[in-house]
């Protein structure tokens, strides 16, 4: 996908698998010099605080490695639950689907501006 990495998370991940993703993704960003990462969670039927933190951490790690992360495809029921859980994922860019996420990344990277709501 050119300069972007696409990560698709599958249903019901073990905690260790989620942690390994951090390793794999940061290594891939460095190896490929990617400027953008799309994390597709449309297949996830739930995100708990552990997975939410993992996603948040990955985004922070990518940022330090000069890559922007966009979380795409969150199901409405997951969004409702996450906010009620107390986890609103501050500082994480989101988009409804992969296409819109790509557009967001392209826009952010071409502007060079930080569009994240801080």
């Amino acid at each position: 996908m050119g300069e972007f990495l696409l990560v698709t998370l599958q249903v019901d991940m073990h905690d260790q698998l989620a942690l390994r993703l951090q390793d794999d993704l940061t290594n891939a960003i460095q190896a490929k010099g990617s400027k953008g990462v799309l994390i597709d969670i449309s297949a996830l039927e739930m995100v708990d605080s552990f997975m939410g933190r993992m996603i948040s951490d990955v985004s922070g790690m990518a940022r330090i490695l000069d890559a922007r992360t966009v979380l795409v495809g969150m199901q409405p029921a997951v969004a409702i639950t996450l906010v009620e859980l107390g986890m609103s994922l501050p500082g994480i860019d989101t988009a409804l689907n992969v296409e819109r996420g790509m557009q967001l990344l392209k826009r952010v990277l071409s502007d060079g501006d930080d569009h994240r709501p801080r």
Binding site: D12, H14, D48, F50, V78, L85, M87
Partner: protein, 135 residues
């Protein structure tokens, strides 16, 4: 007074058991005809408490009951461990407080996602968290 229409239990001894716990709770919530949002809330609460039992309680057991109260259906889950227990229950139920490496959202977050929440803990004996959600 609610009638118990079914019950079961399964171990919480490994990370894989957390996944199995989520699957059991999802199935029960579907059978009780919970809405998709209510299913998701309940499964997420269960996931938080299952992980707590494993990480802080050094493993435990999930006991579940399906309930009928008149025409109302419900599910009650009990997460029991024989871990170190929680010295200060009020503190543990404070948002953002964490004894470990977590965010401190597990217990308080789970409480917000259910209709009934009960926490019993004795230092040196263990912890039991019981949650109930009604359709």
């Amino acid at each position: 007074m609610a009638t118990i229409t079914g019950r079961g239990e399964q171990p919480l001894r490994s990370e894989h058991d957390i996944v199995l716990c989520r699957q059991t709770v999802r199935r029960l919530a579907q059978e009780a005809a919970f809405s998709l949002v209510d299913q998701t809330k309940f499964v997420t609460a269960a996931s938080e408490l299952a992980r707590n039992a494993l990480v802080y309680g050094r493993g435990g057991v999930l006991k579940w009951e399906t309930l009928l109260d008149g025409i109302r259906r419900g599910i009650r889950l009990s997460f029991e461990d024989q871990g170190p227990g929680i010295p200060d229950v009020d503190q543990a139920l404070t948002d953002g407080w964490s004894s470990g490496t977590g965010l401190g959202l597990g217990l308080t977050g789970a409480r917000r996602l259910v209709n009934e929440f009960e926490l019993q803990s004795t230092v040196g004996v263990g912890t039991r968290v019981t949650i109930t959600r009604w359709k």
